[in-house]
């Protein structure tokens, strides 16, 4: 495992340097250079211009500039944002990063969980009207024009029914004079959810490891989940910032549901076809011949193997989900990296755009890594080399 991980990390590093080089090339392809953006007025004398170019290192040969760019990135220096002067790009980005990751992760987990369950069930009860409805719905969700879908969702649930706030991260009026900082509260929320998830994961592992009976096991798992969720709720109920926490959670829901629904369609369809393929395998017949219950065959023998293609598809879908994240953040005015990125494009804030693109690349790389590790955990036949 360590050998595999170190190999993958080296590979990731190389890929990332290539990616950074492409970002740098794109920046070079933009008309003019940064000094033109900084001093737009033609009245500024040439000498000042040249001095600024020298100070920014733009008079040096391209290779030196390239080297400076790459090394500076690894030192964490991504320059100063033009549109949010005098904030550093890294400060701006790292403030927005947790929001993007939360949006992205919760949508993915929701989509994966729901998609896997429903895909499993419709493949098992094949040939009914329900299956048809689910397939058509799944395909529609997968091919729907996402920006439009998000607008419609925002209109229906945010505006028409008024169940959710219309965009943004917090209700500013509520937070004014509260003495709480949204970023701090949000980080505390993430931490608490993370701790509960880890505890639940450990307990779940032991239950699965030592239980004999599938039915009691599933009951125990459900109980643990209920306990974990209610523990989380209780903790936040007792917290002094509970209205503000609820406010953030309320704002998070609609974007997560929207992004999750679209990813749900794809996961469900892939799970269904993977299940259909595993259900035709000989070991399913063997399991039936052994007289195992339907539920054991479905959940233990078929669904587990059907999980593999779903994981692969996740890798392929990663770049799509990142794109979807940008659209979601724009439409829901969710102040994450995607929104920063688009705003940066709009005002040609080049350092910010380049930084956001690079961080997105890092996210994509880690997504791939996680999917790879999951894959090897799920399928022991794949040797870790």
């Amino acid at each position: 495992m360590i050998k595999f991980l170190s190999f993958r990390l080296v590979q990731m590093f190389i890929l990332f340097v290539v990616f950074l080089s492409i970002v740098w090339l794109l920046l070079q392809a933009m008309p003019g250079d940064i000094s033109d953006t900084l001093i737009g007025s033609p009245e500024i004398p040439l000498a000042t211009r040249l001095e600024l170019r020298a100070r920014l290192g733009l008079d040096q040969p391209l290779f030196v500039q390239y080297w400076t760019y790459i090394t500076n990135f690894f030192k964490g220096e991504m320059g100063v944002s033009f549109s949010r002067y005098p904030k550093d790009v890294s400060t701006v980005l790292f403030e927005a990063l947790p929001r993007t990751i939360v949006l992205f992760l919760s949508a993915t987990v929701l989509a994966f969980w729901m998609g896997f369950k429903s895909g499993k069930l419709i493949a098992w009860g094949r040939g009914g009207k329900t299956e048809q409805v689910f397939i058509v719905g799944g395909v529609f969700l997968q091919t729907v024009f996402y920006a439009w879908f998000a607008i419609v969702m925002l209109w229906v649930f945010g505006f028409y029914f008024g169940w959710f706030p219309i965009g943004r991260f917090i209700s500013v009026a509520l937070w004014q004079g509260s003495g709480f900082d949204a970023t701090d509260v949000f980080e505390e929320m993430i931490l608490s959810v993370f701790i509960v998830t880890v505890i639940y994961g450990v307990v779940r592992y032991f239950i699965r490891r030592y239980s004999q009976n599938l039915v009691t096991e599933q009951r125990m798992l459900r109980g643990t989940l209920a306990l974990a969720v209610s523990g989380l709720f209780l903790y936040w109920y007792l917290d002094p910032a509970r209205t503000y926490v609820a406010d953030i959670a309320h704002h998070t829901m609609l974007p997560v549901i929207t992004l999750g629904l679209v990813a749900f369609g794809a996961t469900m369809l892939i799970t269904r076809s993977a299940m259909l393929e595993t259900l035709g395998e000989d070991y399913i017949l063997t399991a039936r011949a052994k007289g195992l219950s339907d539920r054991v065959i479905r959940d233990r023998h078929a669904a587990r193997n059907a999980m593999l293609p779903v994981t692969t598809s996740f890798v392929l879908a990663l770049s799509f989900v990142i794109g979807g994240g940008i659209v979601t953040e724009t439409i829901f005015s969710w102040p994450g990296m995607g929104l920063l990125f688009l705003q940066g494009i709009g005002v040609s804030d080049i350092p910010l755009v380049a930084g956001a693109l690079a961080i997105t690349g890092v996210l994509a790389l880690f997504g791939h890594l996680i999917a790879d590790i999951l894959y090897t955990v799920l399928d022991p036949r794949i040797r870790l080399t």
């Binding site: 439009w148 505006f159 392929l316 956001a356």
Partner: protein, 382 residues
């Protein structure tokens, strides 16, 4: 002579009737006129086509998809015809046309408005229209977006957009743009992916390694952000975007899929036979491997078109593409003019374009699924 032999051998497979007659003639020692090769190929093609068509017809969703694509195809064809015959370009041109709903208002004293639909306050009219209007005058105020109208001098089946342009005309024009983009992207993808996949599978080794690592790199790229940056730097039009998407997916995911398919073909005995018969590398790749990979690549082409259409709509929704009109731009116009949350009040601004993108993508996707069932026997419902 050798070619005639092979032709006869191939024709044996084609038609049993022909087979026996040819044999009889041969036995009688008569001179046999060989069927030209292209005729045999055509017949083979027609036969496999009708076989596959039979399988495809069984998938109901695939047929629905074909109907959807056909409807959009008709729309794309109809636009230039309508523009040249029925529609006045000054009113119906998708980009420069203009029309509006004209409402007549009577100017009344301030605070004396009884019916706000036909009467206007004096101060408001002076402020908004013309400082010299008087009480009792009739003013005509054009307003867009106009709701759908089926009759009148210039009927607008789907109303007009916030700039007074006919939505139906834009919708038809947009389907032309979408087809252009989809086919450019798909053809580029298929061309690159089959070539790269076949070459990588045939040669293996370093060439394979290079192309596969390259594909990994492309898979890693966040496509939409990169395209956004690119469109900020370069003015991208429809064909360029199509070629760009085609290159990325051709060297990326599809190259991997088609390579694995080409690998399974490379080990078939007829490849060995071709090599023994003295076929060169290029001959084997383009005459034996590529034709066998093509069906699968057409399948992925369908999914590729879906992706390209959605990607284009997203980019033009952000207003980043240099195209005169497309479905994404229609939604962009509605949202930048402040109709983002207008919902059902101005449904013709958001719904036709959004549904058109979704349905065309849906159509290509389910045709792809139908073809998948033809190519992958395991998926068939039996």
């Amino acid at each position: 002579m050798a070619t005639k032999e092979t032709i006869r051998l191939e024709s044996e497979h084609v038609d049993d009737q022909l087979d026996t007659t040819v044999l009889e003639e041969l036995v009688r020692g008569e001179e046999v006129t060989a069927t030209p090769l292209w005729k045999i190929r055509l017949r083979l093609f027609r036969r496999s086509f009708s076989q596959n068509w039979g399988l495809f017809k069984e998938s109901k969703m695939g047929m629905v998809g074909l109907v959807i694509i056909a409807i959009f195809g008709l729309m794309a064809v109809a636009h230039p015809i309508l523009m040249n015959t029925v529609w006045d370009p000054l009113v119906y041109h998708p980009v420069t046309g203009y029309d509006s709903v004209v409402t007549e208002y009577t100017i009344v004293e301030d605070g004396a408005v009884v019916d706000p639909l036909t009467e206007l306050e004096l101060s408001e009219a002076r402020f908004e229209l013309n400082p010299s209007v008087k009480v009792g005058e009739l003013v005509r105020i054009p307003s867009q977006p106009a709701p759908p109208s089926l009759s009148g001098e210039h009927p607008h089946f789907l109303g007009t957009d916030p700039l007074g342009r006919d939505i139906f005309s834009q919708l038809l024009y947009g389907s032309r743009a979408a087809f252009l983009l989809g086919f450019v992207a798909a053809l580029t993808t298929v061309f690159i992916a089959t070539t790269v996949g076949s070459i990588a599978a045939y040669y293996g080794g370093a060439i394979d390694g290079f192309f596969m690592r390259f594909a990994d790199l492309i898979l890693l790229m966040p496509l939409l952000p990169l395209l956004i940056v690119l469109s900020a730097a370069v003015r991208i039009n429809m064909v360029m975007l199509g070629v760009f998407i085609g290159i990325l997916s051709g060297f990326g995911a599809e190259a991997i899929v088609l390579k694995s398919q080409a690998l399974s073909i490379r080990v078939k005995s007829y490849i060995d036979a071709a090599r023994v018969a003295g076929g060169g590398d290029r001959h084997i790749i383009f005459r034996h491997i590529v034709p066998n990979v093509l069906p699968l690549s057409f399948l992925y082409m369908m999914f590729g078109i879906t992706g390209a259409i959605t990607l284009e709509a997203t980019l033009s929704f952000f207003g980043l593409l240099n195209v005169p009109m497309s479905w994404g731009i229609m939604i962009n116009t509605a949202s930048t003019q402040g109709y983002l949350l207008s919902g059902t009040n101005y449904w013709w601004l958001l719904f036709p374009a959004g549904l058109a993108v979704s349905f065309l993508a849906f159509g290509f996707f389910i045709v792809g699924r139908g073809m998948d069932e033809v190519i992958n026997p395991r998926l068939r419902a039996r």
